[in-house]
Symmetry: C2
Subunit: 555 residues, 2 copies
């Protein structure tokens, strides 16, 4: 045996090295300055987490589940069911949600409920839905038509249906002829909740399950399985076309916006910066006229947010702002139109438009470098108009190494982006990583989205998440398109991180949540209000947590 | 529009930033000092690579294949078939292979051919192979028995077979009663090669295909599919038990060692440091006596290597050395036995034993910290005995963040490891990454192994490979267990990297290959001989490449 002093020296050197790395991390300050309650809660939480890993994710002999596994596998294994860790994660205050696409945020079942109550709602497809196979090949669209607008009487499910003609939504729903070819994969639902399944043979419910399958990536037994990033993106993109006609209707838009705030508040999120895709120029007015312009949308958004705010009686903070976005396939001429539109909206609603971004699948679409002239001109135009509209670019949402999509990171940084959407490939760029850290640019990392869309097989093997967290590059966990992936709110992403990373504790999650506020695009005074609000919620959460689980400390 | 000078300034800033990052990379010096031939070959190769990406991996409308996709998917899509990029990659000199496990290196078909020629070869299982299902549940073992040893006459395929009794290998092979329940998934084999399929109904060939399935992770239609790391490891570990009895026989051992060198030479590898697992104390002598000790194994290894070297008439370099390993489940007392055994062998064969390592699945097995006292004692003992046996530890072959397996990296580094096997989790440790770079410690990264064993879904999303390459942390691509994964040699790993990374060129691969020599554990004079040999091979390769593909430059 080596002398015990040699062994001691080695163990001390290991501890010193671990401490040196820990001092680098985002949670170091928080862990170094814990209150007594925080320290107690943190110990208890870690104990509960370690126990839950063993009881739910790493069961002896189970070769399927593992902590941090793919999202849909994890859902089947119980992710989202009540558990000590889930309850705590769901209840904790999560600060700001910095990356979610407006039309991919609120549960699609909410949209369906509204569609059912909208008499003018119509439906069309590009092929008759006359066979079970056609259900998954068709491009399905919805739209609210003006009163008296003509609708075909031919069933959309008959071979005689003329592709592209509108039929009544309610008729199509009630006459849905396929009972259960598309039933959802069975899920553990210990509380007997069957809302996700077409449990009854009722046509309406069967239709709802079909529409749900069209609007989500959640695996269904009848839908072709997704096995890679290309297939995931193809399906993902198709969902937006289905959602568009349901959401783009004045009354639904307002209700949806309110539900976005409310559902986020229920998940402990107090502030959301949502990216609205303004690609479409007009939505549909209450009376069915399709001429509701961008200015009117923003007014509806503001009304909705203000109405929810006015409901708040306990003084807690709730708010949402808009990041203006269009898509990376427009040409420069068209981009200029959007940039001017964005400036116009910013001047009209200076508090509400907080940034500009270009969205879409980075690999096949146009790289930022194509848009440099217009994006530089925009910065000049903003100066002329006396407005500040920071860029908040998607960049590095790719597995490419050195291709155009990977190079978007360079352009985004040199264009002065305030934050980076995704940055999956950032950690492989040493100079850019340092630059991001020096410039205090926050990465909006969306772990579940990245996994579902094929950039990583699990949260544990994410090419950048843990690498950046451990370097204390600013990261805000985000949900991206939670209605489409069904990772609503932030609880799923927070849970997957803390359950799969022993280095992450309750206080780590709190540090992440609180820090998200720092990177919001609001004024300093508002940020301070948000911090105060978060601190109060955190104190209340700790009290609840210690009351609920304090006994664990004694076990 | 922004002024063209502003646009110019932006584009220049992007180029400057790209150059700054490129200057960090491992291939910077090589790319900055290209000869005219290298520059020409590099341009042509990149053109061929980009064309092959489009024609084979990123075909319009194909939602399945992609460049850098999972290894078995890539094999089905043609990886390993002749193509411009494959031919060049296969033919180029690859320097040293620093990480492969001896018993997982040579094609299992080679072992089967030897088993067929070994009269004493016997077989046993723990359940009768009386049903098709039993084939995949059974633990199958082989062993050469001494002449005259008793063998059961009962068929191993009958319900009467007494589990654990030895039967004749040749009889079991020839009477294999299952024609094709386990046929390999069809592969594109344009040259009509059907060696991987049980194409004939002949029992022997069918048995061979079964044995192949037992010894590899290659997907077979009848074998339960592997969908995660746990399942992959379970299957992976089972293969070694099947292989053990085939390889652990004096004449086979020698032939196998020779084939290891020869097959590596055919793939452009001139030197191999192979990890031999000395866990088993004895192998089987030519006459069937099971008392061939470690000293005798090493003698056989040396004889085999020297015989292959003596065949070399053109002066080219070929060699192999041994890294002594045992497995991370032995206790400290037992570990001391192996460490002393290692010292004994090093003293007897000072040129041949070049390092020590502990192997096995890091997540469930014992962490290095458990072995600290014995490992420190070993370093003292080496001093006393006047030998140098560097540690070359496996570490960070895990997706854990902060768990024991992840912490192996700290212990390995502080024990002074000369290289790191895998280091999948290294890039998430900023201080350790810097330390590895400062200490010039080479990472033996095994991209295909890491993907097959579930640490990443594709080479492109590997948590450390590109991050470390781009930081110029020393990396040597390695094959790990190529006979079990069937990524023989280094061509598959090199191909997957260069086909999926636009930032990687032919000269990048050459820089990687040449640098591997620097991190071998031989004396300086031998290294210099290897470098000279590599340089000569590279010159010859360039001449061949330019003759073969020079016309591409003119297209």
């Amino acid at each position: 045996m080596a002398s015990s002093s040699q062994v001691q020296a080695h163990l001390q050197a290991v501890e010193a090295l671990k401490a040196k790395e820990a001092a680098f991390r985002y949670d170091h300050a928080a862990l170094s300055n814990m209150t007594a309650d925080e320290a107690r809660a943190n110990t208890i939480f870690t104990r509960l987490r370690d126990a839950e890993v063993l009881s739910t994710w790493e069961k002896q002999g189970d070769l399927v589940a593992f902590a941090g596994m793919d999202f849909y596998g994890a859902r089947k294994n119980g992710l989202g069911q009540p558990s000590e860790v889930w309850n705590a994660v769901q209840r904790m205050p999560k600060g700001a949600l910095l990356h979610c696409h407006f039309d991919g945020t609120v549960d699609t079942k909410f949209l369906l409920e509204h569609a059912k109550k909208t008499p003018g709602m119509a439906m069309k497809t590009d092929v008759p839905l006359s066979t079970p196979e056609s259900l998954w090949k068709a491009t399905v669209e919805f739209l609210v038509l003006p009163e008296g607008a003509e609708r075909s009487k031919t069933s959309i499910y008959s071979e005689e249906y003329l592709p592209g003609t509108w039929v009544s939504f309610s008729h199509a729903r009630e006459s849905f002829p396929y009972p259960h070819p598309y039933s959802l994969e069975p899920r553990a639902q210990p509380n007997g909740d069957t809302t996700h399944r077409a449990a009854s043979s009722d046509s309406g419910l069967a239709f709802d399950a079909y529409a749900h399958a069209l609007m989500t990536l959640t695996p269904h037994s009848a839908v072709p399985a997704i096995t890679n990033s290309k297939q995931a993106w193809a399906k993902f993109q198709s969902t937006f076309g289905v959602i568009a006609g349901l959401i783009g209707y004045e009354p639904t838009l307002k209700a949806y916006t309110k539900e976005l705030l409310r559902s986020h508040a229920r998940d402990g999120i107090s502030y959301t910066e949502t990216r609205i895709n303004f690609l479409t120029e007009f939505m549909v007015r209450q009376d069915g006229t399709p001429d509701l312009d961008h200015e009117a949308w923003v007014r509806i958004f503001i009304e909705a947010v203000n109405e929810v705010k006015s409901e708040i009686t306990d003084g807690s903070f709730v708010d949402a702002k808009i990041i203006y976005t269009t898509v990376r396939f427009v040409d420069n001429e068209r981009l200029r139109w959007y940039l001017e539109d964005c400036i116009m909206l910013k001047k009209k609603f200076p508090e509400w438009i907080v940034g500009f971004d270009l969205v879409g699948h980075e690999d096949p679409l146009l790289p930022l470098k194509v848009y440099i002239p217009e994006l530089l001109r925009f910065q000049q135009r903003c100066k002329e108009e006396g407005v500040e509209i920071p860029f908040v670019f998607h960049a590095g949402e790719t597995l490419e190494d050195g291709g155009d999509a990977d190079l978007n990171l360079y352009d985004a940084l040199l264009l002065g982006t305030k934050r980076i959407g995704h940055g999956v490939s950032l950690a492989r760029h040493p100079i850019l990583t340092d630059m991001v850290k020096e410039r205090d640019i926050c990465l909006e990392i969306c772990p579940i989205s990245n996994q579902v869309l094929g950039y990583t097989s699990s949260i544990c093997s994410h090419p950048s998440l843990l690498a950046l967290l451990n370097r204390n590059v600013p990261v805000a966990l985000s949900s991206d398109d939670p209605s489409i992936f069904e990772n609503f709110g932030l609880s799923y992403d927070f849970y997957q991180l803390v359950i799969s990373s022993k280095a992450t504790s309750l206080v780590s999650l709190a540090a992440l949540a609180r820090r998200s506020i720092k990177y919001t695009l609001v004024d300093e005074a508002t940020k301070q209000r948000m911090f105060q609000d978060w601190d109060a919620r955190w104190t209340a959460f700790l009290a609840w947590f210690l009351q609920e689980y304090g006994h664990v400390a004694k076990q």
